[in-house]
C-alpha cells in the first residue's frame, strides 16, 4: 500500500475548517503547525491543504511557520517556500484580517468596479494594494472570480459579494468592523453563514436557459444505475459512441481518454474533476456545482466505475470556497445513500470516494498537469508531456481529468443513451454546450445551447443587438468581429470552453486587449522563459500602443514577439497568451493604425525618466539643451 493514501482517509476528507479555526491561544506557532500537519497524517502531498489551514489560522505563513512545516514534513524550508510563494491566496507576510479582493476584469470595470474600488479606498482610507494600520483590512484587486454575470463582485475572505455599488461599501465596512470589535475575533476566513448579514453577500442563480442536458427529471444516481447494468468496458464504449468531447476547452474525445486511462497499468487509478474554472468570463462550472452537484458527482462515480478507480478528486478553485460546505454535504448525503464509499449500490468490490481539494488562486492550475502538481502539494508548474496524465497522473498513477461539464454530460449520456446525445449538435460536436455570457447584453447568465449555433443567434438570445466584438473562449480564445458573427460555436469552428464576453460599440477594444495581456502577466507560472518574460514584454508593447506612442515598427515588433511566445512557450497558457493581441490585430487593424504615433521613432521612456536616478545621485537636474 502506498504511504500517501493514509491521508485520504475519512478523517481529513471530512476535515472541517472550523476544527483548525478555533484558536488555541496558548499554543505556539510550531505546535499549532504540528497539529495541522497531524490532521493530514503528515503527508507532504497534502501541503496545499496544510498551508491553507495554517494561513487560515494565522492569516499568513510566517518564517516560523515555514520552518515548522519543513521540520514537520521532512522537507527543506526552501521547498515549502517554493510552493507557498506560488499561490496568490497564500501569504508570507501578515495581511489584513478581512481580505477584500475586488474582481478586476474588463467586464467588472465596465460595470463600475473602479467606482467601487474608490469607495473602498475612501471608506478605509488606504489605497488599493495596502492594509489598514489596525491590521483589519487589506484591499486588493484579483483576477476574475467567476461572477461575470453579477459584476462588480468581490471576495471578502471566503465570501462572495456581487453587484456591488459604491453605496454598499460603508455598510459592508461597518458590519465587518462591528464583527471584529466583538470580543471573540472571527476567524480569518469568513464563512457564508457569517456573511449572511453582510449586504450583497449573495450569488444569484445564473442559469438562464436550460436545454436537454439540464432539464427533465434528473435523478441523482440515474447515470450510475445505468452504468452498473453494464461492464466497465461497455460504459467506456457508450461514452465513445456518444462522441462526447471535453468541455474544458481542448475538446479531447472523452471516450478515448477514459479508454487510455482504464488500460494504463498502475497500482491505483484516479478520476479528477477540473473545477478550477479560471478562464475569465466563464462561470458555468459554478452553476453546475451549485445547482446540479449531484449530476456532476454522478458522472464522476460513473467514471470511477468505468476506469476501476477508487479515488475521485475535485479540484475546486479557491474563489469558489464558498461552495465547500454545501459540496461536503452533498458528498456526505451520497455516502449515507450508498452512492459513494464501499460496495456502492450493493455492488461488491465497487468502492469509490471523493475528496475536494481547494485551490489557492492560480489560473494555471486549471491546466491539467499543473492541476496534478497542485493536487500533490506543489507549485502549479505544468509538466512536460509525454507522459500524459492518462498514463502517469496523480501520484504517478493513471488519471482521467475532465471538466465539470464533461462529467455532467457523461452522467446524462449513461442515463439517456449515446444516441440521444449524438443526435444533438453537429457531426463533430455532439450534445449541447453551456455558454457563460456576460458584458454588454440585457440577459447575462448561463445558456445551454446546441452546438452549431451561430454567434448571431446567441447574441439574439441574450439581448445584445449592437455587439462590436465578442471575446469567445476568454482571453485565451478569440476576439470575434461582427463580420464573423455568422460563425458557429463548435469544435470544428469556434471552439470554446464557454466564456462569452460581449462588448458594445463604445468599448475600447485595444484597452481590453491590454487588460487581457495584463491578466497573463499575473498568471504566468514563470517556469519557462518565453512566457515568463514574453507576457510582460507583450503587455509593455501593448501599453505603448494604447497610449498612442507606438510606431509602425513597434507594432510589427509586438506582433512578431507574440508569434514567438505562442510558438515557443511550454504550455497552453503561454501558447495562447498572445491571442488577444494577435487576434485583435488581425480583426481590427484599423484600430491599431489609428493609434500609431506619427513619428518614426518614439522612446518608451522619456529622457527625464531615464535620468531620474542620476539626478538623484548628483542632486541637480541636467541642463536642458537650448532650442
Amino acid at each position: 500500500m502506498r504511504e500517501a493514501k493514509s491521508s485520504d482517509s475519512r478523517n481529513s476528507d471530512q476535515y472541517h475548517w472550523k476544527r483548525v479555526t478555533r484558536p488555541h491561544r496558548h499554543l505556539t506557532t510550531a505546535t499549532e503547525v504540528k497539529r495541522v500537519i497531524d490532521l493530514f497524517g503528515g503527508d507532504r502531498s497534502r501541503l496545499l491543504d496544510i498551508a491553507e489551514a495554517v494561513q487560515h489560522r494565522f492569516g499568513s505563513i510566517s518564517d516560523e511557520a515555514v520552518k515548522a512545516l519543513a521540520d514537520g514534513l521532512g522537507m527543506h524550508a526552501v521547498e515549502v517556500e517554493d510552493m507557498v510563494s506560488f499561490y496568490a491566496f497564500l501569504d508570507r507576510e501578515p495581511r489584513g484580517r478581512f481580505r477584500v479582493r475586488l474582481s478586476k476584469t474588463p467586464i467588472s470595470l465596465m460595470k463600475g468596479a473602479g467606482d467601487v474600488a474608490r469607495a473602498f479606498e475612501s471608506a478605509l482610507a488606504i489605497s488599493i494594494g495596502s492594509t489598514t494600520p489596525d491590521g483589519k483590512f487589506t484591499l486588493e484587486w484579483t483576477s476574475d472570480i467567476g461572477m461575470a454575470d453579477q459584476e462588480p463582485a468581490a471576495l471578502i475572505n471566503r465570501m462572495v459579494l456581487t453587484e456591488l455599488t459604491p453605496a454598499d461599501v460603508p455598510d459592508i465596512i461597518a458590519s465587518l468592523r462591528h464583527r471584529s470589535n466583538k470580543g471573540d475575533e472571527p476567524p480569518f476566513p469568513l464563512h457564508p453563514v457569517d456573511g449572511s448579514m453582510l449586504p450583497k453577500a449573495v450569488v444569484k442563480p445564473s442559469l438562464v436557459k436550460a436545454g436537454p442536458l439540464l432539464s427533465g427529471p434528473l435523478g441523482r444516481d440515474d447515470g450510475l444505475r445505468a452504468a452498473l447494468s453494464m461492464e466497465p468496458g461497455e460504459v467506456v464504449a457508450v461514452i465513445t459512441a456518444s462522441k462526447l468531447r471535453g468541455r474544458g476547452g481542448a475538446g479531447f474525445p472523452t471516450g478515448m481518454k477514459w479508454r487510455l486511462t482504464a488500460k494504463a497499468v498502475g497500482s491505483d487509478h484516479y478520476v479528477v474533476c477540473n473545477a478550477d474554472e479560471g478562464e475569465p468570463g466563464t462561470f458555468k462550472d459554478r452553476v453546475l456545482l451549485s445547482e446540479f452537484p449531484d449530476l456532476v458527482i454522478d458522472g464522476m462515480t460513473v467514471a470511477g466505475y468505468a476506469l476501476g478507480a477508487k479515488h475521485g478528486l475535485i479540484y475546486l478553485r479557491g474563489e469558489y470556497a464558498y461552495l465547500w460546505d454545501m459540496l461536503q454535504d452533498v458528498l456526505a448525503n451520497r455516502r449515507s445513500a450508498g452512492l459513494l464509499g464501499t460496495n456502492i449500490l450493493g455492488r461488491k468490490g465497487f468502492d469509490f470516494d471523493i475528496r475536494i481539494q481547494l485551490g489557492a488562486g492560480a489560473y494555471i492550475c486549471g491546466e491539467e498537469s499543473s492541476l496534478l502538481e497542485s493536487l500533490e502539494g506543489k507549485r502549479g508548474t505544468p509538466r512536460d508531456r509525454p507522459p500524459f496524465p492518462t498514463e502517469r497522473g496523480y501520484l504517478h498513477q493513471p488519471t482521467a481529468i475532465d471538466n465539470v461539464e464533461t462529467f455532467a454530460c457523461a452522467a446524462r449520456i449513461l442515463a439517456q443513451g449515446a444516441a440521444w446525445f449524438s443526435g444533438l449538435g453537429t457531426a463533430e460536436s455532439t450534445g449541447t454546450k453551456l455558454m457563460s455570457v456576460a458584458g454588454d447584453c440585457s440577459r447575462p447568465g448561463v445558456y445551454e445551447v446546441p452546438f452549431g449555433i451561430t454567434v448571431n443567434e446567441l447574441l439574439d438570445m441574450v439581448g445584445a443587438p449592437d455587439a462590436a466584438f465578442v471575446q469567445i473562449g476568454g482571453p485565451s480564445g478569440q476576439s470575434v468581429a461582427p463580420k464573423d458573427f455568422g460563425r458557429r460555436i463548435a469544435y470544428e469552428d469556434l471552439s470554446t470552453g464557454g466564456s462569452t464576453m460581449i462588448f458594445g460599440p463604445t468599448r475600447d477594444i485595444l484597452d481590453i486587449a491590454l487588460q487581457f495581456a495584463a491578466f497573463f502577466v499575473d498568471e504566468s507560472c514563470g517556469w519557462c522563459a518565453p512566457c515568463r518574460v514574453g507576457t510582460t514584454l507583450l503587455k509593455q508593447g501593448m501599453e505603448k500602443i494604447v497610449a498612442g506612442r507606438a510606431t509602425l515598427d513597434d507594432l510589427k515588433a509586438t506582433e512578431a514577439l507574440g508569434h514567438t511566445v505562442a510558438r515557443m512557450s511550454r504550455c497552453g497558457l503561454g501558447q495562447m497568451a498572445p491571442n488577444p493581441i494577435l487576434s485583435t490585430m488581425r480583426n481590427f487593424p484599423e484600430l491599431y493604425e489609428a493609434r500609431l504615433s506619427p513619428e518614426p521613432f518614439s522612446p518608451r521612456v522619456s529622457l527625464e525618466d531615464a535620468l531620474r536616478a542620476a539626478v538623484l545621485i548628483q542632486g541637480r537636474a541636467s541642463v536642458p539643451e537650448e532650442a
Binding site: A77, V78, E79, D82, R379, P530, G534, T536, L537, R570
Partner: protein
C-alpha cells in the same frame, strides 16, 4: 529480447537513438548540435528555457524533455527556429542585467555565447532593470541574482547530485526568483564550493570567489570556439 532500434531524422540526417534517450541526448551523441541553455548533460532535464525547441513531426517540442521515438522527423537548424531562439535569448538579456564587457563570466557564459551563435545584436526589447541584489555571505561563493536566468540547473544539481536542496524558486511569473534554503544568505546553507550546484550555472549568477580571472579574457572557452563546437566536432568523428 533485443529492443527495436530507434531511428529518426533531424535536418535530413539519420540518427540512431538508445531506448530512454531524449532527442537532444541522441543528437549530442551523434554530433548534431541543438542550441540549448537550461539543459545540462549531467542533470535531469527540466524544460525551462525552450531554446532547444525543434519542430518534431511538425509540432514545436523542447527536445531536452522529449523522448526520442522511432520515425520522428525533426527540423532543427531553420531560420524560423533560430529566430525564435534568438528572441528567447534576447528576452533573458533584458529580464536581467547583463553588462557583458565587465562581467566575470564573459567568454565562459552560455547565454552570451548563444547570443553570439544565434546572431543577436543589441536587444531591441525593453530592459526590465531588476534590482534583486547580490548575496556575498558565503566565504567562497557569491550570488548575483540580477544575472540569474532561472534555468533551475543549480536547483536540480543541489537536490539530485549534492543531496542538499540549497536552492529553490520563489514567486511566480515575472516576479519569480531563485531562493535559498536560509533566511540569512547563502553563508547559512550547506553549500560548498566543490558542490555540483556551484559548477553548473550557465551565467554569472553563482560565482566562485577568487577564481574568476584564472583564465584571462580572450582565452576562455567560447572565445576560442563557438558554443556547440565540441558537439559538432563529434559529428566529424562519427562521419570519418
Amino acid at each position: 529480447m533485443a529492443a527495436e532500434p530507434i531511428r529518426f531524422t533531424i535536418d535530413d540526417v539519420e540518427i540512431t537513438a538508445l531506448e530512454g534517450q531524449s532527442i537532444i541526448e541522441a543528437c549530442d551523441a551523434a554530433g548534431i548540435y541543438i542550441p540549448r541553455l537550461c539543459h545540462h548533460p549531467e542533470l535531469e532535464p527540466s524544460g525551462n528555457c525552450r531554446v532547444c525547441t525543434c519542430k518534431v513531426n511538425g509540432r514545436n517540442s523542447a527536445t531536452c524533455v522529449t523522448p526520442a521515438a522511432h520515425g520522428m522527423s525533426i527540423e532543427n537548424n531553420t531560420k524560423e527556429l533560430n529566430d525564435d531562439r534568438r528572441m528567447i535569448i534576447e528576452m533573458l538579456f533584458v529580464e536581467g542585467n547583463h553588462p557583458c564587457p565587465y562581467c566575470v563570466a564573459s567568454g565562459n557564459c552560455e547565454l552570451q555565447a548563444l547570443g553570439y551563435r544565434l546572431g543577436m545584436q543589441a536587444p531591441k526589447e525593453v530592459y526590465q532593470w531588476p534590482d534583486r541584489g547580490i548575496d556575498a555571505t558565503h566565504p567562497d561563493i557569491y550570488l548575483d541574482h540580477d544575472r540569474c536566468i532561472l534555468c533551475s540547473r543549480c536547483i536540480r544539481a543541489s537536490r539530485m547530485e549534492d543531496g542538499k536542496t540549497v536552492f529553490g524558486f520563489s514567486g511566480r511569473g515575472i516576479t519569480m526568483r531563485l531562493n535559498i534554503d536560509a533566511t540569512g544568505g547563502l553563508g547559512e546553507t550547506q553549500m560548498a564550493a566543490i558542490d555540483k550546484a556551484a559548477r553548473v550555472c550557465p551565467v554569472a549568477c553563482i560565482v566562485i570567489k577568487r577564481d574568476s580571472y584564472r583564465v584571462p579574457n580572450g582565452q576562455r572557452r567560447f572565445d576560442l570556439a563557438p558554443i556547440g563546437s565540441d558537439i559538432e566536432a563529434r559529428r566529424k568523428q562519427v562521419k570519418s
